[in-house]
Amino acid sequence: MAETLKKRHSIPRIELANITKQYPGCLANDNVSLTLMPGEIHALLGENGAGKSTLVKTIYGVVSPDSGDIIWDGKAVSIKSPSKARELGIGMVFQHFSLFETLTVSQNIELCLTPLQLTKIGNLASSITALSEKYGLNVDPDSYVHSLSIGERQRVEIMRCLVQSVKLLILDEPTSVLTPQEVSGLFQVLRTLAQEGCSILFISHKLHEVTEVCQQATILRAGKVIDTCEPAKETPASIAKMMVGELAEQDAGYSKKEGLHTVFSMTSLNLATKHPFGTSLKDISFELKAGEILGIAGVAGNGQDELMAIISGEDERNTGAALALEKQSIGQLSAAQRRKLGMAYVPEERLGRGAVPDMSLTENTLLTHSQGFIKSGIVQWKPLTDYAKKLIAQYKVKCHGEFSEAKSLSGGNLQKFIMGREIGQNPKVLVCAHPTWGVDVGAALAIHQALLRLRDQGAAILLVSEDIDELFLLADRMAAVCDGHLSPVVKTLDTSIDEIGQWMAGTFIHSPSHHSEETTA
């Protein structure tokens, strides 16, 4: 299909020639060239910081390149703003959605259109419904965005591009927030679009998806184009090798362990959310054993944040005996008291909750390691800085030094630091959200091995992640959350991606009426 389309239109949809963008201290794009034909699904691959985001932002007019040309449909253009990009027919679906939660779907879409486009479309709501049926997007124009699931929001973003009859659709890690079933639905939509001649530029970390859906791939490393390939002719391992530049250990398949005695338990916890867009926890019970990793899968916003907050003590409501550490009730204790008893915690949000942005790495270390480094109320700076240096070296954190402010680090590097800091406490229980989110392949491997070492030393680890592959790789037992319910907990070896995927969509919740009542409560 793509081959015939290519022959028919010999003019590329877009051609990037020698795009260079220099940021202070970092060459984000170095002479990057890339060609996209009409109807082609093209993957843009690379580790974090390889320059993928900068490149797509250049195409979408958010970033202006220092040098280089953009040729659109055979004509040189300069894309100065996102509205100019949309005028040309470029649409983009961001990784963090750019939707307005307090507006309806059709208001969100209307905001993106020029008054001229609006008059051309006429009745926006009916045209949304028509497109929705045509592509199977299932989007109701009158719903408020805050009431939609993540998958639905993504479809709204795609719809927003479709309404403008987009010719090039850019998707920034579109599948990272979807259940496996939603991913295949998305791919169906993308294939249909491509058949109609729309070009698609697809950023992803998940190599098996790239081999499944993309016809061409461009691989970036440190801002440069390292290689191009036809993913169908490659394997995930061979592509990973091109990305990392050395043989990456792909999914080595770590040994699974049986947990010992129960260290931490949650018993029939019901908790109403305090946030209008939050999820209430419904009757959650589980046990976490010494020497095991328990993985909790789920699409973002299904109660993970609330669960993490109540376990860590960040949510200060007294849950009494519903939470127990080594058979002692800890629901009444503060976050600091729980830490003293041997619990450690890596929140999803690194800046602001995992670390104080304006404080140095050394100071951030002190925040959770107060015992050893404070004597009679006085900070022991020397051992503290030594310890921070050790963490930086051990976890290969890229930064200027132990006095760098936390906010000056890239997300992945800060994550490595925080993980190291928490693991370094030798906790009895480590509660950890998205340990490798935004971390590159090499660093993720280091974090995985550190987690497994901790497990083998007898710690109990609760791992909450949206990355189902990672959970299968690391977890000894698994469960999924959906709408504040926790699925049964099963051994990883006894389940399948398909079953967990279905649980993520809530199939384990038996009575649907009961379920819908509770969501409105």
Partner: protein
């Protein structure tokens, strides 16, 4: 209590509520765009003094109003440049603006204390003013009050029914997303802040040209603060702002009413009424955090710098 007294009380409640209404209408637009401007009191005092001086020097109250609105906008422009361009903290900048305006207005107005101007005269609207009771309460006011009747309707329409309103709401909820789809966030915020400033200036001129046609130091007596509370009280809805403004207006004249009725309570105690009411309302509103979070513009008070987007 006889009917005449009730009519008089309601008439006075509207008059007293009008400056609160004007400020709150400006501030709600500003807050919808995500900007919290705590400089209302200072801007209002500057509007009042400049309006008074302009009207006193030219003998034309219309010039006074115009000058006050320009002054209010100018004050808010200072705020806007500091907050939007230089990334200053909104709360601190707003407080500084209030302190600055309070001091500067006292300084430039000192020579004018004790003078009086010919302000706006009440205009009875033909026919409508003859409606029994209602006519006496609503249709025997001055031009600024009539203006304040029309403004909420216009503002509610623009905010809820037009593309401008949609853009405003989008910017206030998620400026990063708004920027990504090509809305000029800073421009929208500049305009919203300037509009708020002009409205507050207008409210200031109402104080010094109509309510008490004279200038006295600190004559606004905390009305700027009450109006800020009013916006939260009304949960950013224009209709409720109007209702709230008159309720607060009523609370402000309670002491006059009770004295008129011969109730023996210290007038100092009664003069506290609107402020006590403000505190109570704020506590009640904040108790329901769930609702407040849902209705408040989500990026309220958070700075946004488009250069961070790169």
């Amino acid at each position: 209590m006889d009917a005449d007294l009730i009519v008089q009380i309601l008439f006075a409640a509207i008059k007293t509520g009008t400056p609160l209404l004007l400020i709150a209408l400006g501030e709600v637009i500003c807050e919808k765009s995500g900007i919290l401007n705590l400089g209302q009191e200072g801007m209002m005092l500057m509007g009042a003094v400049v309006g008074f001086i302009a009207a006193f020097s030219t003998g034309n109250a219309g010039f006074g109003v115009l000058a006050a609105m320009l002054m209010g906008s100018f004050m808010s422009l200072i705020f806007a440049v500091l907050v939007l361009q230089l990334g200053a903290n909104q709360v601190a900048t707003g407080l500084a603006l209030t302190i600055f305006g309070t001091g500067l207005s006292a300084f430039i107005g000192s020579e004018f204390v004790g003078n009086t101007v010919q302000g706006f005269q009440p205009i009875a609207i033909p026919l409508l003013a003859t409606i029994p009771y209602l006519g006496d309460i609503l249709f025997k006011h001055d031009i600024l009050v009539y203006l304040s009747f029309g403004l909420p309707i216009t503002i509610a329409f623009v905010a809820n029914r037009t593309r401008i309103g949609l853009i405003l709401k989008a910017v206030g909820e998620n400026p990063h997303a708004a920027n990504a789809i090509g809305i000029k966030v800073l421009k929208v915020r500049y305009l919203a802040i300037l509009f708020g400033g002009a409205m507050t200036g207008l409210a200031g001129s109402y104080m010094s040209l109509v309510y008490t046609p004279m200038w006295a130091e600190n004559m606004t007596a905390g009305r700027g603060w009450i109006a800020l509370a009013l916006v939260v009280f009304a949960s950013w809805r224009v209709g409720r702002i109007m209702l709230g403004a008159y309720l607060f207006g009523f609370a402000s004249i309670m002491h006059l009413v009770l004295q008129g009725l011969g109730v023996d309570i210290s007038s100092n105690l009664l003069a506290m009424m609107p402020y006590v009411a403000t505190v109570i309302v704020m506590v009640v509103i904040s108790a329901d955090q769930f609702k407040e979070k849902l209705l408040a513009p989500r990026s309220l008070g958070k700075p946004f710098d488009p250069r961070d987007m790169a």
